[in-house]
Subunit: 606 residues, 2 copies
């Protein structure tokens, strides 16, 4: 079975050697699992991915999901994927056993999702959103809602979606207008339109359970008046059967990438016969939604990491097989009589591949780390520790959502470039990854929104405690690295960057203290770029420490070359990426304010 889409060795290194998955299994919540059962689980995920997901990946792009005669057509393999996702426990993997889930750590769920998405990023969302929707019901819904909807969802028989966006309210949820009116029997009459609904309809689920945000009549304006509803496509008819619930598929969106993953336009209650059931309390919709947001954003980060990884491996394979040109020799001339060299031997190609390696493996570690923080935040026996990991997760989340998407795009673009003219051709897969990954900077809150979240909320959260915890974690890595002579200078660089972060935040907070909040946040995007680079440097130094310890101890889990390659990648990352914080910090502390609107027109004028 071909394994060209995922690097399992690095995945296992991160899970076991770097993140010590076994330590999680000692917690009560996960004590039913051991490393052997988890290996088996991941191995079944890999088999499923290689057999069912990877082979149809390019077909799903070439035959986009589309709206025709009132229904959405998708690749027929979605049927098998939904079924097996249910059977293998992929939908229920980290859901509690009491609700019928496997109760695995999110870390393992993330690893499983990563393998699947490396194989096929178009396919995984169908089951993934179903799991997210089920989770919301299980977490906040009444027992009847749970009983009615979630078993079939976890089995992969029914699909689930998140219905947030409306035509006139994209990221601005406070403006949403979908309405809910009490019917008097506990249900609500739902009326409104939702757009950009991923996996919103297809022939391979016998029902859809939409988790929908709407405003109950008379509710407060803004975000305080938003409630969360379960709105099924088919509702129970009270006689043990199901009847239509007036949810109409109005159309779809054709897209740049992820074409096999349908994006739909849904119309609720056009015939005034659409019923919804509120999840939890009225007007608490956004709160519930936000409680699930960290998980959803980790999933988006995982998607970016997956595509970057698959693209890296595809361009690496090409570079290892394609002869072209000659190395520059020491006399500065090329010898045409020499046989052409493999392009992987050209420094510029190596630079592109190393960047890809750094971004994809670093992103994987980042999403895995956030997943572990999530696990510790819910399962650690000590409450203070739970709170600490919760804060760490909150702080990392916008970065987890953003870095694999933004740098993933750049990484995939480098992968395409490795192939030269062939990279631009449909015959090769790189152009597909290039298109697919572009949505990840938009999904679940754009990079701009994540950046405002990071700078506006997270770094100041709990009086800066989240940031303090993170600094503490980084300092631990630095102190380990300082003990290893080969790593010392890198540890110093990282420490210096921590100091620069303080300086930058000190500078910016001056604006906030002056009440100039718009100015404080104006360069949030730059801060995201700056701070992400430092966080990623920490993760790479951490991997290098683990690799170096393994080399020193003579650990034979992986080859010496494997460990050396991690250290090499860390050095590459520090030279080519971390160095950029120098400029970014300077930009952030520049006095010119150039992006805040004033009377002057600065765009097209004559």
């Amino acid at each position: 079975m071909a394994n060209k889409f995922v690097d399992l060795a690095t995945l296992k290194f991160i899970l076991n050697d770097v993140l010590d998955l076994n330590s999680l299994l000692e917690l009560d919540r996960f004590s039913d699992h051991d490393s052997e059962s988890i290996d088996m689980f991941l191995s079944s995920v890999f088999d499923f991915s290689a057999k069912e997901l990877y082979p149809c990946f390019r077909e799903m792009d070439e035959n986009p999901a589309h709206f025709k005669d009132g229904i959405i057509e998708v690749h027929p393999q979605v049927k098998t994927i939904m079924e097996q996702s249910g059977e293998l426990g992929l939908i229920s993997s980290f859901i509690s056993a009491e609700h019928g889930g496997l109760q695995l750590p999110l870390l393992v769920h993330t690893a499983a999702g990563f393998i699947q998405e490396c194989a096929n990023n178009h396919a995984v969302g169908y089951a993934g959103l179903t799991q997210g929707a089920a989770e919301l019901i299980l977490e906040f819904g009444a027992q009847e809602l749970k009983d009615t909807y979630t078993p079939k969802m976890l089995e992969g028989k029914w699909g689930g979606t998140m219905c947030l966006t409306e035509p006139d309210a994209g990221s601005s949820l406070s403006d949403l207008t979908t309405s809910a009116k009490p019917n008097g029997d506990g249900s609500y009459a739902i009326k409104g339109q939702k757009i950009f609904i991923s996996g919103g309809d297809h022939p391979y689920a016998s029902n859809f359970v939409h988790l929908l945000l709407a405003r109950i009549e008379g509710a407060p304006s803004g975000t305080k008046g938003i409630s969360l509803f379960v709105v099924p496509k088919f509702r129970p008819d009270g006689k043990g059967d199901y009847e239509s619930n007036d949810v109409i598929t109005g159309g779809d969106y054709q897209k740049l990438g992820q074409k096999g993953y349908c994006t739909t336009h849904l119309v609720f209650g056009e015939n005034d016969n659409c019923q919804g059931w509120v999840v939890g309390a009225e007007n608490m919709g956004l709160k519930y939604m936000f409680k699930m947001m960290n998980g959803a954003r980790i999933a988006v980060g995982r998607g970016g990491a997956s595509i970057a990884t698959a693209a890296y491996l595809a361009s690496l394979e090409y570079a290892q097989e394609r002869p072209q040109g000659r190395r520059v020799s020491d006399h500065g001339k090329k010898n045409a009589n020499e046989k052409p060299t493999l392009i992987i031997n050209h420094p510029d190609v190596r630079r592109m591949l190393l960047l890809q390696k750094c971004v994809s493996e670093g992103s994987l570690y980042l999403v895995a780390l956030a997943s572990k923080y999530y696990d510790l935040s819910i399962a650690h026996s000590d409450e203070a520790e739970r709170e600490k990991y919760h804060l760490l997760l909150e702080l990392l989340t916008p970065i987890v959502k953003t870095y694999p998407a933004e740098m993933g795009s750049e990484s995939v673009s480098n992968g395409l470039q490795v192939l030269g003219g062939y990279g631009f051709c449909s015959e090769f897969v790189l152009q597909q990854y290039y298109r697919d990954i572009r949505i990840f900077s938009i999904y679940e809150g754009t990079t701009g929104i994540q950046s405002m979240d990071l700078l506006g909320r997270k770094v100041t959260m709990a009086n800066g405690q989240a940031l303090q915890h993170l600094s503490g974690e980084v300092m631990q890595t630095i102190s380990k690295a300082l003990d290893i002579s080969e790593l010392k200078s890198y540890a110093d660089k990282l420490a210096l960057n921590l100091q620069t972060t303080q300086k930058v935040l000190g500078h910016l907070s001056g604006f906030a203290q002056n009440g100039e909040y718009e100015r404080y946040l104006a360069d949030a995007n730059m801060f995201m770029e700056f701070f992400s680079k430092i966080v990623m440097a920490w993760l790479w130094l951490d991997m290098a420490v683990v690799a170096k310890h393994a080399l020193i101890k003579g650990d034979k889990t992986y080859s010496e070359e494997f460990y050396e390659a991690k250290i090499h990648a860390m050095k590459f990352y520090f030279k080519y990426e971390l160095t950029k914080t120098l400029s970014l910090s300077k930009i952030l502390m520049d006095e010119d304010s150039l992006t805040i609107v004033d009377e002057k027109e600065v765009f097209v004028v004559k």
Copy 2:
């Protein structure tokens, strides 16, 4: 007539106010033209673009050119485009009058091409390559070749192509194997395959004239044994008619973007009946080709600038019309009762738009400047001046080829991001620009190759004289800016960057002096990024100087806001882009050598 694809005010500002097009018209070669006739010419180009090119732009993407039953089908509008390109003189615009051309400055040809490509980057290549092929024949071919082929090409009745790449020789031309064997009658028997041939075949030209590189039997190996041939699809049969020349269209390439512009696979001499005629002397093929390379690379830069511009204007229009969210108020809260603001008022959206403005207008100035250098290098009355401008052109060319492509891609990606989820949808044009522009980093020598050219050949060229000339030009702008108090600090920054360039080159040249050429060139790509940012800062400062002078003089050619906007964009460029040279110079002077191959395997290992 809609004008949403090009900013004519900025184009005219650059042509007339910044580059003083009139000064070119004083040179003998261009003295038949005056500013009025040029205005009329550009105005006819704009009408043609708005009427014939822009309306079919999206259709050409949605209905890709493709190979079917042995022929290439393209959008039927290509017929009109070829015809009118001939009639309007677009193909012959800068070709000498003695050869039937308009003998306009390349600067005007570039402006004309820019307008057309802003309207439709898929369509322009059909006539553009025809012009390039005709130019090669006119410059180096025998009279009979000129008479036989170029009139119909300049009229747009026959198409022209460049046939360089072969399946096993992409950028490495020394490895090409297409063969030419003297037939004894002055013609050669051609045999071989060429791939990635743009505009290589379609129904709307009655003949194709391929300019093809091949190796004459017994010629030296490597690049010294390559000759240039004219190989028509239909050859004169000696009786006043034409007969098939055994050039078979073997297939095409489906691509990420520029789908309306066919990319073909051509097979020459499969039936041993393909004749070619050598252009100029044998074994001089690469030299001839390289003499045309500057022009070709300016055209590629122009394409990048055009797409970046059209994308900028499209995202600007969206941002000026789309309400969403509220500005961050001074108390740091958003008020949901306020009406949503237009997204152009959000700092992060303004940042993205300003980046687009800087990249697209800066790129336009860059390609226009290179075109003017070209004009001066061939038409200046003083030989020393011609040589000076030739060197300036040589030095700028790799940057002209690279910056609009690389930063253009980033710019278009920002444009897509401005639209949020809609940016990813096929319904909006941004995703098309995002795909289209990606080829420009590959066309005519990849970014890696341009970077090696810049650092390996151009900066050291003529004992560094090219670089000295450029420094001289930059110093002139700096000295003008130093006289204007608002611009002084920016002039200082630019001067500092010139010094840093010297430092970086001093550091790198140490490797070359040691004979470590591979090391010298290993970070050529970083040097390209570094040096381009400085060159662009110079151009922006120069535009700001011109704008400021106009404001001081009370020049009413454009509005005050127009001039102020240029100065604002300059400041933005210096803050957000030029500052990056700080990190780039540090990377370039870093001692770690991490991309040169050695025995250690640094990629996928277990």
